[in-house]
Symmetry: D2
Subunit: 345 residues, 4 copies
């Protein structure tokens, strides 16, 4: 390709190095500048990528007319200001998850991107893995039947974050996966949790999502578990999925199991439940690194003016649920309804 | 022992055969009579144990002066009437879990047993396993430090019960274990769930228990899961336990892992969280069958007038939580407080 | 069926009780007599099965004209004499594995059964499991392609036998499975092993079997392993199987993996090896207890004069390999050829 | 440290990039030059490490007086010539495993290094992992008791090598671990194997090692397995180890299991075997990358004139066993004795 998309990356802490490495390996993209407050981190950039410019002032990125797109990998509380500035400077934006601290901020960014006709992609990385794309395919094709539940356990001895609770840190992954896979949206949530650090944020949380149809979802997150678990069950009326992200190769298993329900002619009060058990099947998955798939998708959206599959609307939906869940958690499980007014596509 | 304890077993469906077999193998106990409505089931008793009397009328058991104790393994809705009749007939009672349908019924049975000075044991079988007794020992000895959470996942493609929801069927196990292991009692619950059978009882449920101290518990049950999971995490401030009941031998693993929290002198707003990781240790467990240990305990309580470790008070606590959880589930997670007035010991 | 097959069981030690229980549950069979040297074991039979006759003298079984078939579950060294006496008394015979101590003995039994037109079934129990039958089906159908290797690890902290080494105790299972599944027979073996008990029999052994075509087999057995492993790999040119007998449900996994080999036109010295990786599939298995399937097969052979699928010839093949392997093991791996003269079918 | 050790790396194919990266991250070491025949691979070096010199002629490395040490990561057949040239040029040498193609070559390199007083380290990387160092500690301390067996399974769908068979590719890891952990040396081997590629090298092999004392070892390697297994059992008279290198954290498990053997006073022919089962314990392991530990060790040996723990003698022992095993494999398991004359330390 003749013309590269020039990218500025803001933030070189935990995730930024992955973005820089990944974009560096994609032909058609070129990381032009990296900014971070911390000069030590910038020294690492220079040692490893001598051709990349570094700066402690992200304004340099916004003001550089050669930069087409900005990737933002900073703490959540800064996402809104940085993304808005980038959009106002006419840049396409890829922003880490969670998209923003509030849904108002998310709506404002969506609006700004729309008005300026810029791509706004939220980095819901999991959506670009082979495993999640395979689950999307299985659900969309109808092979699972009606989806009855989504149930995820995501626990480990994890870094205690100081600015966000465990829902915003870990449940965000499941919410982004659900937003991609499930064809309906939750209408209310109930959440419970606890903080074991005096004055700290919740480090264990349990989130139930209610949907209008016969579907329920639950997410179970914990920073204080002795073992790492990453297991999601998706129950369908025809088949069921177990997604174990710690399995090195067989991450997705599809079980031909379930129940069949028949009305009982003799009694309106009794349902007959029958059980089906059959084969299990583990489809081979595309092992391309998710960040590569996502980076290529970002470039394609920029070049062809397409909407990203994890655009501002997906980011907004996740933030709305996290807001509602945090509110419910403060009230020890009290139901919090989600307005289901959609952003016009 | 010269004299046997003569036992009558009511109900020979799913669990009754285990009780009959187990008591038959204990010297000092003798199963004298088995009753069941279903003559076909009684024919099985006769084929296998020609020396045991059978009857379709459980009154025969209550009226037999040679019977010292009655074991009740019938549907939950019948527990109260049968146990009350047995106590009134002067028999010691072992009753399946959940003890009763309501906490009022449970209180009534406790009262009756106390007044008549009879043993009332609730068959919280798990409490008598080597694994749960080892966890009790680890918690009681203080080796885990302060208990921070109890978290259990108990799911499989299970029999859909027609008379009780999945909490009463599966969560009852965790509640009985908690009642034995944890030194404090929950003060409130929040539960959510769903029924996938039209007009049926909930087949998936999520239950959070709040305690007065820095402790939270969560129980996760599902009759419609493609795989069987039986995993409990107990987090302590010093060590943590993973209890996987499906492991053939290493059911209990103790992890020397956790966090250390230090106040930060420079800022009251920041806590310093440090991480500890160390060895893991899987203690050897007593592999005696739980029903045997429990049967021997029942006999000893009868002979020496001791209070069972799973007596009426434990049964009552479990029923109270199940009542409250079912109420919360109907209200989609709304908090339901548990009165903490204790039964006088 | 009007008329039962009356069975005499000789030996009520480790395996005999399973045979008695299993035949008792099969309609069409009736255990008439059990013999054992040990009166205590016979007392157990009487307590559990009052209708079964017991005797310390197995002659009573041979001389009872009402007994049609004899099942022999005694130490290996006694198999030959007992089976021969039973055949001479006109009984059909089911004998534990290994069939005999020597291949001469096995041939003699085959001959006796043939001349008297009696059924002689060797209790290669694994052959009657759903897992092994499924593997047989997959191999026979050609779905795996050409079979390239059979590789089994069968280790645990097991009972040290005093009369047979670990090959005769554990490898016998794999040899019986191979004899059923593989369409060719080994032509030579090399075995190594060690005894850790002074003057004792080998408690660890490694056995390689060579075949005429492009196939190799290896069996790895150990009575002194800290963990139990039961894993067999079967490599085919098209697909491969992993059989893990400790998995509760997914015992058989079929992998669409392998290599493709192409001649390289430019060089006779180079082969091009390509790799294929694809889906994995775990077929549902028939969970009928193997002993039940085997018992029904034994009855059918008796009634219809059919040859059992684990007849004397299969038993003989296994004994011949065990003899050769033991000889090779004494010579620290030296090749021992197997004559491939077949028993006339 | 004032003065860096300047390193030349020969070969930038599979392993060379790891050496370059690892030495680049060690203070006290400096990669000065990388050589490879392939200019494309050198371009990668330049892109990533602009300060490193590159050359297609390894003579440039030997002739550079500023280079102190040479790391050789080329095909096995070239190890001898390159290592000899490096030693003759006065360089310290770190050479990939297997050290050489023949034991004569290995002896010649040991001799050259000794005469010139240069460090000769063989890159037995596993020896520098936390897991293997822990096993060494457990064996050396006597905690396991007498070592009874070493048993390793190392199989996967692996790259078919064109210049070395599967023993030289995979068993080399186990032989290097054994050479470090076990206090005695094997005196003879028996090996079997097969090639599934016409005219190719063996892709499945089974190797038994005999020792003079009551110890046996077995290594089981396969390039054509559908699943990856990396499991080693080490049996001691007191305790036993399971080393599973695919476990993310609990790689080493120590089992308090075994047998106790007592002479039987009444019979010289009978030994009494008792079984012990006890706790399992998974010690925390040092997670430092092995190459870093090894690189630091190499520097220390250079600076202080110490002998490396994986020096030429360890490399020689491994090559001798591989030679003998390959010979035995050609003869279908025939015993090949190893001379046990030691290299003078």
């Amino acid at each position: 390709m003749e013309s590269n998309v020039n990218i500025g990356v803001i933030g070189y802490g935990y995730w930024g190095p992955n973005l820089v490495r990944s974009f560096s390996e994609i032909s058609g993209a070129k990381v032009r500048t990296v900014s971070d407050f911390n000069p030590k981190l910038l020294a690492r950039v220079q040692a490893r990528y001598p051709a990349i410019q570094v700066t402690t002032d992200c304004q340099d990125i916004f003001e550089d007319p050669k930069i087409d797109a900005v990737a933002i990998a900073t703490p959540v509380s800064t996402h809104f200001d940085l993304a808005l500035a980038a959009l106002k400077a006419g840049k396409h934006v890829m922003v880490e998850k969670p998209m923003t601290v509030t849904s108002e901020q998310a709506l404002r960014l969506i609006d700004e991107a729309d008005r300026r006709n810029r791509v706004l992609l939220v980095d819901h990385t999991f959506v670009y893995t082979g495993a999640v794309r395979k689950m999307h395919e299985l659900v969309s094709s109808g092979e699972l039947g009606d989806i009855l539940y989504y149930d995820s356990v995501r626990v480990n001895l994890g870094l205690f974050q100081h600015d966000i609770n465990v829902l915003w840190d870990l449940a965000v992954h499941d919410l982004s996966i659900m937003s991609y896979i499930l064809q309906s949206k939750p209408c209310a949530v109930s959440a419970t949790g606890i903080s074991h650090v005096p004055g700290g944020l919740e480090n264990i949380a349990y989130l139930t999502l209610f949907f209008e149809n016969n579907l329920i979802a639950h997410v179970h997150v914990n920073w204080l578990a002795p073992v790492k678990v990453r297991r999601t069950l998706i129950g369908g009326s025809q088949k069921m999925i177990v997604f174990d992200d710690l399995e090195p190769s067989e991450k997705i298993k599809v079980y031909d199991r379930g129940i069949t329900i028949n009305g009982d002619a003799e009694s309106v009060y009794r349902m007959l439940v029958g059980y089906r058990t059959g084969d299990m099947w583990a489809p081979q998955l595309d092992m391309t690194e998710a960040l590569r798939t996502e980076g290529l998708h970002f470039l394609r959206c920029i070049e062809h003016g397409e909407r990203p599959i994890t655009g501002g609307d997906a980011g907004l939906q996740v933030v709305k649920i996290l807001e509602a869940a945090t509110e419910s958690m403060k009230k020890q499980g009290q139901l919090v309804e989600l307005d289901t007014v959609e952003v016009a596509a």
